[in-house]
């Protein structure tokens, strides 16, 4: 009897092990092109109107699309029609934008449509989408981008802010579906950035049937026109599986490219998307992401905010042990600016440019770059990052040359010789290890001229609250581009005493007047000159101490083709290809 029990236990253990091994090593279809990516934060759902973080925006763009997009292989960014048949025609006064919509584009098949078959996209869908962003019941974080821009939209919003049910059939003067495929926007005043706004995620076309059918659960049931479909989003799952959209239109890989991307034209003219399936893992911790990438079970690893993985990046190369495995590095500067923002409304800094300039001169950005970015970041001279109109590569901010003697002189001129009489200045930072370290570095720099800094760590909501309530003296922030126009950065200093923005609370009449002149101008050399002038003013008035424009390193395996990363580009997975033969060969080296 005892022997029988022992035998039974043994058989059970063997069966258990066999089952376990089978589960772990289930082979996938060898001919299927499966792209495996990873996200570092939870996805907030698939409602384009609510998506305000990069991680969710990346997922939404796999499913939904907008009227316009950016050319995948051209830099500086070039707007191209996406769901629109062509770029818009713009009226002479710059206020009326007319779009033709591509015919025959279908929404994904979904139970929200009759017989479960996706219907054709029409101009009215964009009218509905924009109204939905403005609907006070939806509380889209993006409405401020459209506020006081489109004729009648603010009045429509204000009306329904106090009415229980929003009526989407009520016409808005500036939003018109002229016919089934013609869409017209009428703006209150010229707004040259408008086409960029239409390329942003919150303007992606949403079918009203899905919103009505799923109600509050719409965010878990994405129904777009994009290259991939997702059955349903389960927020409890840390794994999303997208399939190639069988009804996707005939969209082709671009056949033109900027000089730097000529080598990415091998798939020119091929029908998109190029992969059959995408699996996206959500792993908030860096170590498992990094180990899975090295194991070859994740194809692409965005290591921009990582601290372990980034160690393998040496200048513009990666460690030889990774090169041997065929791993590739993509490294481009982000269109973002790191700042130690000065609260210019604070009694200490208001009307005391010399004090602000002294702090800026004492900050050693070269060392900062070496310590925190291994020297790969671009030193920031002012607020506009590289790649945007108004950025001058050769421009040097006279208050960004690390010069302690000059800083001490200016400090004396400001009324604080050797820092005497100056109270302890607080620097509020987000309470992550890296931000604290950056704060401590800033403190050390200032100590050299006798300025005492106290680093105050905060949770992110606390930090925002303190900035909003003007409780900070200095605070560390970074600002990234939403669209490729420097206006998105220059606006941060326009009458910023009246809105939070980056919390600079800066108000310079000359700057404000020049800004007002520049932002209504269509792109031109004249506008570029004004942008440059504004950028110089933003530098020399020192409303903030600019640190660096961060680099953005991404690692990907050798079998991944056509990969590139850029700030404003979303939904790029449709262009990625996988070389299955090379994958087999390279994986043998793991």
């Amino acid at each position: 009897m005892k022997n029988l029990i022992k035998l039974g236990v043994f058989v059970l253990i063997v069966l258990g092990m066999w089952f376990y091994t089978k589960r772990v090593h289930t082979p996938q279809n060898q001919n299927e092109k499966v792209l495996v990516t990873v996200g570092a934060a939870q996805i907030k759902g698939f409602d384009p109107a609510q998506t305000d973080d990069v991680y969710s925006a990346c997922e939404v763009a796999k499913i939904y699309e907008g009227l316009l997009g950016y050319h995948y292989l051209k830099r500086p960014y070039e707007l191209v029609p996406n769901l629109a048949a062509a770029l818009p025609t713009v009226s002479e006064d710059g206020c009326v934008y007319t779009f033709s919509i591509k015919e025959g584009i279908k929404f994904h098949d979904n139970t929200c449509f009759p017989a479960g078959q996706g219907r054709e996209l029409v101009a009215e869908d964009f009218v509905y989408t924009i109204k939905r962003v403005a609907d006070p019941k939806v509380q889209s974080p993006w409405f401020s981008m459209l506020a006081e821009k489109i004729q009648g939209l603010d009045a429509w919003r204000n009306k329904y802010a106090v009415v229980a049910q929003t009526d989407y059939t009520e016409a808005v003067a500036g939003l018109k579906a002229v016919d089934r495929y013609t869409l017209q926007f009428t703006l209150i005043r010229p707004w040259p950035q408008f086409p960029y706004i239409l390329a942003m995620g919150f303007c992606y076309a949403v079918p009203h049937e899905a919103v009505q059918h799923y109600g509050a659960e719409f965010l878990n049931h994405p129904v777009g026109t994009g290259p991939f479909t997702l059955q349903a989003f389960n927020p409890q799952l840390n794994k999303l599986i997208y399939y190639k959209n069988p009804t996707f239109r005939d969209k082709r890989f671009p056949s033109e490219a900027a000089e730097a991307y000529q080598h990415l034209l091998a798939d020119a003219g091929k029908k998109l998307p190029l992969v059959d399936k995408i699996i996206t893992h959500i792993l908030p911790e860096e170590q498992p992401r990094w180990l899975k990438f090295q194991q070859g079970t994740i194809d692409v690893a965005d290591i921009a905010s990582d601290s372990i993985a980034v160690e393998v990046v040496q200048g513009d190369r990666i460690a030889p042990r990774l090169q041997e495995k065929g791993i590739q590095l993509f490294l481009e500067p982000e269109q973002s600016t790191g700042l130690f923002v000065i609260n210019n409304g604070h009694v200490l800094f208001k009307n005391n440019a010399k004090l602000r300039q002294a702090l800026s001169l004492a900050f050693d950005e070269q060392r900062y770059n070496e310590l925190f970015h291994k020297g790969t970041a671009v030193l920031a001279q002012s607020i506009i990052p590289p790649g945007l109109e108004g950025y001058q590569k050769d421009y040097t901010n006279p208050y960004k040359i690390h010069d302690l003697a000059k800083a001490r002189k200016l400090l004396t001129a400001a009324g604080y010789p050797g820092g005497k009489g100056l109270p302890v200045i607080t620097l509020d930072v987000h309470a992550t290890t890296q931000h604290r370290q950056q704060g401590e570095f800033f403190k050390k720099c200032m100590e050299r001229i006798g300025v005492k800094i106290k680093v105050v760590p905060n949770t992110f909501p606390e930090l925002l609250k303190r900035i909003d309530q003007k409780m900070t003296m200095l605070h560390a922030l970074s600002w990234s581009a939403d669209y490729p126009d420097a206006e998105g950065f220059l606006c941060l200093l326009y009458h910023s005493d009246q809105s939070m923005g980056i919390g600079a609370y800066f108000n310079d009449p000359a700057y404000n007047a020049l800004y007002e002149k520049a932002i209504v101008m269509q792109p031109s050399s004249e506008r570029t000159k004004l942008y440059e002038q504004l950028n110089s003013m933003a530098a020399e008035h020192v409303p903030a101490i600019y640190s660096v424009h961060r680099p953005h390193p991404v690692l990907y395996h050798g079998w991944i083709k056509n990969y590139l990363w850029a700030d404003c580009l979303y939904g790029t997975e449709q262009y990625i290809n996988i070389d299955l033969e090379q994958k087999k060969a390279l994986q043998a080296k793991f």
Binding site: Q50, D52, Q139, S144, A216, Q236, L237, L283
Partner: protein, 313 residues
């Protein structure tokens, strides 16, 4: 006293506790925490939008009315939707609890059985090499940070040796099995140290009692003395220690879940705190206090089952 009456009376006592908990969390959130509208509206927030959103969220109501809403949700268990993710909070909790429990139950059961067995052995061989070794190993295991176990375990056993999945999770049995083995082992290693020391002390208190000497004098075997007499009498502190851990099993293990990508309740709580997501923080706090109250009552009832001398009053 009837057990049901006792349980009902204790549950009624829980009401003021719950009111106290909701009051503390409400005050903490409204006085100390950041403005949720800034988080929810993001970097383009305008003053008007913030005012509108405050109205939508009911934050412009009087403090008393807001607290009444909090109390109402605590008693109806209708926590609404998350401010940050807009997901149904009860759905989030159900999914999270499932994931947390698939990891914590097997780990907890195995760790407890192993710890009790080791404690009995250590107590039986008190002062001998085995006892000393077990104590030393327990202290060493307790002294190492949980993070060290996780990082080492992931790197060596999952990445280098490939025995386990590095991270991830899939719902449904047996799909989750490959993902929970390594985190469960780490959980067991983490728990065994303190548990062995605690249970050893409990058992040692018993082995010096007169009834053990009597049993020995009667010629009973060591196995019977330990498992039949000593263990039964040591059950009250053991049960207290075991049952009081149950709520934390449901509420998840924050670091282990986070590093292994297990979408449990620990993860949900952490994100809610980072986002000032008050409805989720509120739901998790109320849920945890309710669980602790319920499992305290269960502990009391279990005492009467293992020791007839204990009476419910």
């Amino acid at each position: 006293m009837n057990m049901y009456h006792y349980a009902i009376r204790r549950l009624l006592y829980a009401i003021p506790v719950l009111i106290g908990v909701t009051l503390v969390i409400f005050l903490l959130f409204n006085v100390v925490a950041g403005d949720p509208t800034l988080i929810l509206l993001g970097k383009h927030a305008t003053l008007q939008q913030m005012v509108e959103l405050r109205h939508e969220l009911g934050l412009d109501k009087s403090m008393l009315m807001q607290y009444c809403d909090t109390l109402k949700s605590a008693f109806t268990l209708n926590f609404g939707r998350s401010w940050a993710t807009k997901q149904q909070i009860m759905q989030m909790i159900k999914g999270g609890a499932y994931a947390s429990l698939t990891l914590s139950i097997p780990a907890f059961v195995l760790a407890s059985l192993a710890a009790i067995a080791m404690a009995l052995l250590a107590a039986f061989f008190r002062g001998k090499l085995l006892d000393r070794s077990l104590v030393v190993v327990s202290v060493i295991m307790m002294s190492i940070s949980v993070l060290a176990y996780i990082l080492f375990g992931q790197w060596v056993f999952a990445y280098k040796l490939g025995w386990f999945e590095i991270a991830g999770y899939e719902y449904g049995f047996p799909n989750f099995l490959p993902y929970i083995i390594l985190p469960a082992i780490i959980w067991i290693v983490l728990s065994i140290g303190p548990d062995v020391r605690f249970y050893r002390t409990v058992v040692l208190d018993e082995v010096h009692q007169d009834y053990v000497r009597t049993a020995r004098a009667k010629g009973l075997s060591n196995r019977i003395i330990l498992f039949k007499h000593v263990l039964k009498n040591a059950m009250i502190p053991i049960i207290t220690n075991l049952v009081i851990q149950v709520p934390s099993l449901i509420l998840g293990a924050l670091l282990i879940e986070n590093f292994f990508g297990i979408p449990g309740l620990g993860n949900i709580t952490l994100q809610a705190i980072n986002n000032s997501d008050f409805p989720v923080i509120k739901a998790m706090t109320i849920l945890s206090s309710m669980l602790y109250i319920i499992f305290n009552i269960i502990t009391d009832v279990l005492y009467t089952l293992v020791d007839p001398r204990v009476k419910l009053k």
